[in-house]
Point group: C2
């Protein structure tokens, strides 16, 4: 039982009876696990009503008899909540620190924003019999009376409503709009809820193509890459994930140092005054800024913001440091974390409240110097994806609507997740123009101004860039390469590139033979390590080779080496590729060079495979009629476009609406509207745009260029 729950009960003087048993995941096994009488089984269901995109989630906790037939839609209707559905595991984990199999009313003690939660009690819960709950632990059962349960709710100041589900069920047909369509959906989700518990299994409990959100969560946690954290929207990056970031850091920091960019560290705190200096910019970030208002027991005189990005943090100092054109270019970078308190559903790596990134900020005398750098940096971002993460991207320029708040133009590397058919912004390199330099008064005297010019005429506002790449990279990598067995790590960013497993040892193997095998495995690991490869011999006893194979497969180790007596006799080692499962052998003599080559091959093949998938998924169309159907086939669309904000708004609305039979847009549904992704640098050369002739795909205007559109993260 979680400490919190046991503490809570103790504080309430609820001396609840508690029993331990094997983990149970359904009513049948649970009832079998419990002996004795005088209690009834219950179920605790968490529903999630639909809320506005930026609004917080308002979960519904339903506490009912196991035997009661509940209905999510009817409950939602009764509570006047829109579109109630079963919450996913992410919400359960982040908000209640529970899984479907161990959630209980006491999970409410874990909830940070209790006032957002609705609690529903089944009117059928008996007053004279104990109620059985899992106290955040599927291996335990705790027994409390209805009065104790209500005392608990009172102690956390949580109101509840009682619902008569039988009466609700009877009333259902009249109240429902589309009963036929909705009912199967709810049932299917309920079935998922009751599915076998897989949180203790080593492998994944679901398939990437079948339940992508669940797959993503499992692949991250079961590979030990990431751990959920008790502050919503924050996650723990474990060594496997952090190592990817270290490799990116090493590569990118080396490259920009070579370019003359210098690393710095600015404070994470910004005064409100400074934050407000650039209005367009702050408008883009204000709703997500986290504020420190207290230190120890003292209230701060003025709230202090945590940086969401550092333009306004840095540029007052640019103005101080840049005195003459000789101080240009000024180019600095920092590796830090930033905070954007988003209220949308958080998602590991892709949308988190704190994330790691680098942010470069530079100032130039001429626009052309700024332009050149914008592209150099974008090329480096591309390389991070293609060369390190084996992920293809499309480079291009963002539309006016999608441009960085307060900037001049934004370039981007756009990634693509084939399984969901959604694009993802992979990194952006902005030219800020002179907007910030005017706001922050960053000027130099124009070295080319005529000597008799006035001081004002000689004043030249510098041209600025900013560019950032974040740990989102890691999420894109996982989504691209992972499979039903777990992670697949590109060799260049793998924490362990090869693992060596002793195999083929049976009861007949002598101690001597077995020791020899173990020694050679250790020796192979050391040889490979010496040659610069990250290698490990898995010499754990009491584990079968099969167990070890699974262990390292879920963690995505690119190459597994197996060494048994037969291999040793042939002076070779058997190799298995994680990406393809292909098996080959490798002589012990040329071990280092052959393994290095194999890893290179894996890296290249992974990239090629991802490229092929992306190429297949970018479809060029020119008629509006094809737009939504092609989008629905999980494709990105390359279309002739007029490049107008109004047209983009219109496309988004029409692609959402028409896909959804006039229902509202929902970020998570496949029916969300398409956004412009970028104006690709590489435009089609076959049948190019004919100025003044080619029409925009979506309106009556003439097309200016091809634009990439798609659903997007």
């Amino acid at each position: 039982m979680s400490d919190l729950v046991s503490e809570t009960l103790k504080k309430l003087s609820i001396s609840a009876k508690e029993v331990s048993h094997a983990a149970v995941s359904d009513a049948k096994s649970w009832s079998e696990a419990l002996t004795g009488e005088g209690f009834v089984l219950t179920k605790t269901l968490i529903l999630k009503p639909k809320t506005g995109k930026t609004a917080p989630v308002t979960p519904v906790v339903v506490i009912a008899l196991e035997s009661t037939e509940t209905n999510a839609t009817a409950i939602g209707k009764k509570l006047s909540l829109k579109d109630c559905r079963f919450a996913n595991e992410e919400l359960l984990a982040s908000t209640f620190q529970a899984t479907k199999d161990n959630v209980s009313p006491f999970s409410l003690s874990h909830v940070a924003q209790l006032d957002l939660v609705h609690v529903v009690l089944d009117a059928d819960l008996p007053t004279d019999t104990l109620l059985a709950f899992h106290p955040n632990d599927a291996q335990k059962t705790v027994f409390v009376s209805l009065d104790q349960l209500k005392a608990y709710l009172a102690s956390i100041n949580k109101d509840f409503i009682e619902l008569d589900f039988k009466a609700l069920a009877a009333a259902k047909p009249t109240g429902e709009k589309k009963p036929a369509a909705k009912a199967p959906k709810a049932k299917k989700e309920a079935a998922t809820t009751a599915a076998a518990d897989d949180s203790n299994q080593m492998g994944l409990g679901c398939k990437k193509e079948e339940d992508f959100p669940k797959w993503y969560q499992q692949v991250l946690t079961k590979s030990d890459m990431l751990e959920y954290y008790d502050v919503s929207g924050c996650y723990i990056l474990r060594p496997l994930a952090y190592n990817v970031w270290k490799e990116i850091t090493n590569f990118f920091d080396g490259a920009i140092t070579e370019m003359g960019v210098e690393d710095t560290y600015f404070p994470m705190f910004v005064s409100n005054k400074v934050l407000q200096r650039e209005k367009d910019h702050i408008e883009g970030f204000a709703p997500e800024v986290a504020w420190v208002t207290k230190a120890g027991n003292s209230d701060l005189e003025e709230p202090i913001a945590i940086r969401p990005t550092s333009e306004t943090v840095m540029y007052p100092y640019f103005s101080k440091w840049i005195r003459s054109h000789r101080d240009l270019p000024l180019r600095i970078n920092q590796w830090c974390s930033v905070v954007r308190w988003e209220f949308k559903n958080p998602q590991p790596f892709l949308r988190t409240r704190e994330f790691l990134w680098q942010e470069g900020h530079t100032a130039h005398l001429h626009l052309k110097d700024a332009d050149t750098e914008v592209k150099q940096i974008l090329d480096l971002y591309e390389k991070v994806y293609t060369d390190l993460l084996a992920v293809p991207v499309v480079k291009g320029v963002k539309s006016e609507k999608e441009r960085f708040a307060g900037g001049y133009y934004t370039t981007t590397v756009e990634g693509f997740i084939p399984t969901t058919g959604r694009a993802i912004q992979g990194g952006t390199s902005h030219c800020l123009g002179q907007n910030f330099s005017k706001m922050f008064n960053i000027t130099v005297e124009d070295p080319n101004a005529p000597a008799n010019a006035t001081e004002e005429a000689k004043k030249l506002h510098v041209w600025q860039n900013s560019w950032g790449l974040s740990t989102r990279t890691i999420g894109v990598m996982v989504m691209t390469h992972g499979d039903d067995k777990g992670l697949v790590m590109p060799p260049r960013v793998a924490l362990i590139q090869t693992v060596i497993v002793p195999c083929g040892l049976t009861v007949k193997t002598t101690k001597e033979e077995s020791d020899k095998i173990f020694d050679v495995c250790q020796d192979i690991a050391l040889r490979l390590k010496k040659s610069g490869l990250k290698s490990k011999a898995d010499l754990r006893e009491n584990y079968t080779p099969g167990f070890k194979f699974n262990h390292w497969e879920v963690r995505g180790v690119p190459l597994r080496l197996e060494l048994g007596p037969k291999d040793l006799a042939k002076n070779q080692v058997s190799c298995v590729r994680r990406d393809t499962g292909a098996r080959f052998s490798c002589s012990l003599e040329n071990l280092e060079s052959e393994i290095k080559e194999a890893l290179e091959t894996i890296q290249n093949d992974m990239y090629k495979k991802a490229c092929q998938k992306m190429d297949e998924s970018i479809v060029r169309i020119s008629e509006w009629d094809e737009f939504v159907p092609t989008l629905n086939q999980k494709k990105l669309l390359l279309v002739p476009w007029c490049d107008r904000v109004a047209c983009e708004d219109d496309i988004k609305e029409r692609s959402a609406r028409s896909a959804n039979d006039g229902e509202e847009e929902d970020e998570k549904a496949p029916s969300m509207g398409a956004k412009s992704l970028c104006n690709p640098f590489q435009q089609p050369t076959e049948n190019p745009i004919v100025p003044g002739v080619t029409k925009c795909i979506a309106c009556d205007h003439h097309a200016k260029h091809f634009m990439l559109f798609g659903r997007s993260y």
Copy 2:
């Protein structure tokens, strides 16, 4: 004029007349710089009353006629403020963003906590004449009327009191306790205030031995190592400083990776619940914790803390991850920033509200494994100081009083700043024992427990360590090596190790000769760079060699190469060491190897010099009578000690009091009490402690070992 000031005046519709002139730093030059009539000169003085150690500073802003004789002590008395003194530059910079030469009433617009500030107006300020002020810019003067000044104060909601200084002066003698002793002090400080402005000079405006705090501030800002920031206690680490941290990171991260420690990243946010889990521990940190209570416009349901350190952040997950003794040792580390909102005077690098550090957290099956690691890490910390920063340290164990909150024992590397005679804790490696593992329930089954033991008896709480090293290292390095010319960088952590300056070019030098010299300088820089040395040719035109020498000297570049026509003729380059000023020449043929060797020599000599200074400053004494006098000679004391908390408290009190004639302790004064620094691993072998015979230096108990005592940062 600062933007803020000009904006403020504009908002008030104060169309103040403003004139520009050369920077002025005293009344005489100011009055000479201004022409015309109809105005009077003013002065704005900032006083700092004495406040409790953890209480915020409450500055007094005195706005007076230049000709008025003000008296800090009398003002303090009038306002019932204790021990008013002139504020130092640090306070001016951090709170008012001003220097002594440009501070004005309008600097109040920069103050974050206006309610802490007292404003005093000279009753003699005329109503019918304009008042001249420097608007945060010593090169400008702005003229406003007294009414406009009062309107300004009203606009920022700031009350003021008027003081009649003449009346005060007349009343003085009766009110003062020790007029003779105090008056010279106030006068001396006033003189400092009026000292020549050096904020625009390249070199330092003070000597290390004469005004250490001012020297420290100047060496940091004039070397471009650090920039003051508008949130108090936060500073900008510029490339010169950040590079030191990068070198430390590279060295230390490489070493611990080799040991098997893995890098991770945990969120910066901690829920209150989790933070409170370990009571002793949180008691140590609670007064300094910064709290986020708002995001965008929404109040958070519960305040969320920013980590001051990560024990309680990480250990709930240790409990989850450690299931069996096979999961041990678990060893992780993270590079991050932490926040400790101290209310004491902040000091760059040494005491800052946000700082960068690494924190390692490990768990072991046996105490002896934990012990071994504690020492390994401490040895690495020692190496960071000795091998990278050329700074000696003393390794040892902290006393019970100085031990980490909630820990078992703390080891430390103690540094020493000879100029102030104060020690500084350089890095700590803690054994946490089983305290946290009991609190967070981190257990494994004892692999050696008898098979028939109960489950409870088999349970073994893991042994934990935590260890941290911060950017404080950089401050210690600067204080140790810097001199009256500025920074002196140890070659191994220098951003630029050698700078090449073309010299000896006169009006008679032909264009061809001069081009040749420049080319060879560039070539030398490239050759050195290729060989792995961080080199730069300073080919700026319009700057004299002398200017460039100063420029790089203040920035501490370890070795300057000069190349003139004579050097070129001899195929050599002249070299000047930054640490000693010694000059030698080096043949262009063996350039790379000779320069490398010279840098190694500089690194070693800097370390040797610092060691000698430290050795001289550690004095072994055994009689209490010598204790305070030796302390006052800026020494550290190695004394026989009984190792009792009560005795340590007593020593601190007696060493403070006796040095101060019974006055109260003041952290900044040389009279602050001595703290125990460490029980050095290396105990004297000559005349060692005789158990049961040797007495403690400070009490009647027997001495257990030699302890290092000293005043400390």
